[in-house]
Symmetry: C2
Subunit: 431 residues, 2 copies
């Protein structure tokens, strides 16, 4: 039995608040270990990276050259990947590129009514590091999602790090890096890779920003190097909320709920519906489909521990709840999704109608699958070109408009006790 | 004598690197204190806020109502501010509003060649907290700079917190809040105010994002609540870099350098010039002007400890150095600033020509004065409307284009070992 809430029940508000407040992630306290690793790499560069890679990845490299992925290795990986998968990667790349190209902000340079020239100029971050996890969560689709927006932005140098524990490296990850146009690849991971990107070593030049998901060590390292470099958000476990009317195929919705649940035992799949019959059918269909799922254990744990079905009197009542949940993924599986879309205030991505399973967005829809988790869609957005550019303000006065604006600047400067501010204006006006 | 470097000197590279790496800020380790304050406010709400306010601000309020700034108090503050200053605040508000209105991103909804509907929809953050420091650094201009972009974005609720140690509150800060349109004001500060905004109390509803500068306690609290709410960047001490040719009035540049230096002993004022004569004159002018500055001690300490003049053979040689410095403020005090502007890659804001002292941008230029410090212009931007909106991705397939895209999504899902992902697509295609 999965948790079932009904808005009509007394106590619903408290139950819903408890659902919102539920922590799905136990964060390991690795901060003290990470601090030492960062400091060691900052002091000892390549040597420290080699030592940690030997220790954590059981990879005995004598030089960083051995940890640098060569063109030949990439070509060999490409040859290993089935043609169908390569074609799918290529299609995904093209669709992601086309969508993200529309996100590139435009420079704005203008002159106002009194002749002051103002503007906002956008420039690309010069160098970006992309962290790619090793092992099970080594997803080629995530390589595309993190690298393509940087390419679109015009980032000069994109450095990928990916650990290869015991020497094992997913060839599809290298293929995706090749398709996306990564500049350099190192088979290193963990906090030591984050440190190498942030501080630089003899072999690896430092980057200005680091993106990409990772384990607790990587997350803690990113938090610590923030300021020295920029970082993207720290991603939590994935989640989906499906808002569904009675006119749904329960099997389809069950498949969507399980697509989320199979990610992680801490993933969360929620269904809000105005149909008690559909709720029952979906719950049954989930049970049935679980039995034939390779990752049954993971998906079952997620569904039982964090899944929930919420019954509402009508779909309008669903949307305030959806906005409070602020889900990473929101499926509007209803006959008129556009009507509900107008009421969406907080969501990372919305999938409209019955023919847009969230998995399309994970791979080939074109939009980014790096999205705000854990209710952070209330204040943040998915990964986009904007994360790889920055804006410089422009201001240009002439003697006339400086004379027009000067007195106000002088008044405010003096009122704040900043006389040198005031003087820097008055001295130009012979005041 | 201020530090002088010359690119032609052997050892310049090392000296310049040392200048870049110099830490200007000693960060107090207050994290354990802040952790306890946050936890206490989370548990005990208003009562904890009242207790900490009694302890840290020596303000003995029995209820939160006493810490809530009333309309009458705001009106009284408005009456206290000289008309000239109020008019200056109003002018600043209008110019900041007009500039930021151009930053509002537009929704993008479109249909691609195979009929997939995609889009990016922007919505405002629902509630924002603005931290305003008490005491000396309680600047009305900063109230405008933090609040106006939120207003432009369409934030529903803007909550200002400002400590009033011993009951003292700068009336200009309240006046600026009134001009800018703040919704609620509480006279609380420190980590307890950040906690109240992030977690909410019986009196204060929680916000989704917190912006604004503060002391070490505020900065540590913002870092800790990040994730529960969004935060803006953690600002460091301010800095200016002036790139100047020989055709400058040395007194004007000296005034600009000191306008930065008077902020903080940890502020940094740098001059790069191709004229050794100008360098000498500016250094002399700084000495002369320091003597008549109310904040002489602060400015002198900043200039002596962190100021520097760098001599380059020509102005083209200045720009690579400027981009490595990635200054918060960059003045291009040269005869052809547009030529140099084209070479700017990393800077928070650029002030062009001889008649645009940086202080104009602090107050009435229209652009934002909350800008990236400590070289973070390499990867981040000044405060803008974008910090108060978030983007939701839209995806909508129909049976035909789901059939076109489906096989690629299924191939990638299976290749990543995510069978339920693949199934959520195939089940809709009867595959």
């Amino acid at each position: 039995m999965v948790l079932r809430l009904t808005t009509a029940d007394t106590g619903f508000d408290d139950d819903f608040k408890a659902l919102l407040a539920g922590k799905r992630e136990v964060s390991e306290d690795v901060d003290h270990i990470v601090r030492d690793i960062l400091e060691s790499v900052r002091q000892n560069g390549d040597k420290a990276v080699l030592d940690y890679t030997r220790k954590f990845d059981r990879l005995d490299a004598g030089t960083m050259a051995e940890l640098t992925v060569s063109e030949a290795e990439i070509d060999a990986a490409m040859a290993e990947v089935p043609a169908e998968t390569l074609n799918a990667l290529q299609l995904a790349y093209e669709r992601i590129y086309a969508h993200h190209a529309r996100q590139m902000p435009e420079d704005d340079r203008y002159t106002d009514a009194i002749g002051v020239e103002l503007g906002s100029l956008w420039t690309a971050v010069e160098a970006v590091g992309v962290y790619v996890p090793g092992g099970l969560a080594s997803y080629p689709s995530s390589v595309l999602m993190n690298v393509v927006p940087a390419k679109v932005a015009g980032v000069d140098r994109i450095v990928m790090v990916v650990p290869s524990p015991d020497g094992i490296l997913n060839p599809m990850v290298l293929a995706a890096a090749k398709v996306a146009g990564v500049s350099e690849i190192y088979r290193i991971g963990g906090a030591q890779a984050v440190a190498a990107l942030a501080y630089g070593t003899e072999t690896i030049s430092p980057v200005a920003k680091i993106v990409g998901p990772g384990n607790a060590f990587v997350a803690a390292a990113k938090r610590r190097v923030f300021g020295t470099v920029g970082i993207d958000m720290i991603a939590g476990p994935s989640e989906v909320l499906i808002v569904a009317d009675g006119g749904n195929n329960a099997d389809w919705l069950a498949a969507d709920l399980l697509a989320q649940a199979e990610h992680d035992t801490a993933a969360q799949s929620l269904l809000i519906t105005d149909s008690a019959d559909l709720a029952d059918e979906v719950e049954k269909a989930v049970e049935a489909q679980l039995k034939t799922l390779p990752r049954e254990d993971v998906a079952r744990a997620s569904w039982q521990d964090f899944g929930a079905i919420i019954l509402v009197p009508d779909l309008d009542a669903a949307m305030p709840l959806a906005n409070r949940i602020a889900p990473e993924h929101l499926e509007l599986a209803v006959s008129d999704p556009e009507a509900l879309l107008k009421k969406v205030r907080n969501a990372g991505a919305v999938f409209l109608g019955h023919y847009t399973p969230e998995a399309i967005g994970d791979y080939v829809g074109g939009s980014n699958h790096v999205l705000p988790t854990a209710r952070s869609a209330r204040f943040s957005s998915g990964l986009s070109v904007l994360e790889f550019v920055k804006r410089t303000s422009i201001l240009k006065c002439n003697p006339d408009n400086l004379r027009a604006l000067g007195p106000a600047a002088i008044a405010l400067g003096e009122s704040e006790g900043l006389s040198a501010h005031a003087r820097s204006v008055s001295i130009r006006l012979n005041l």
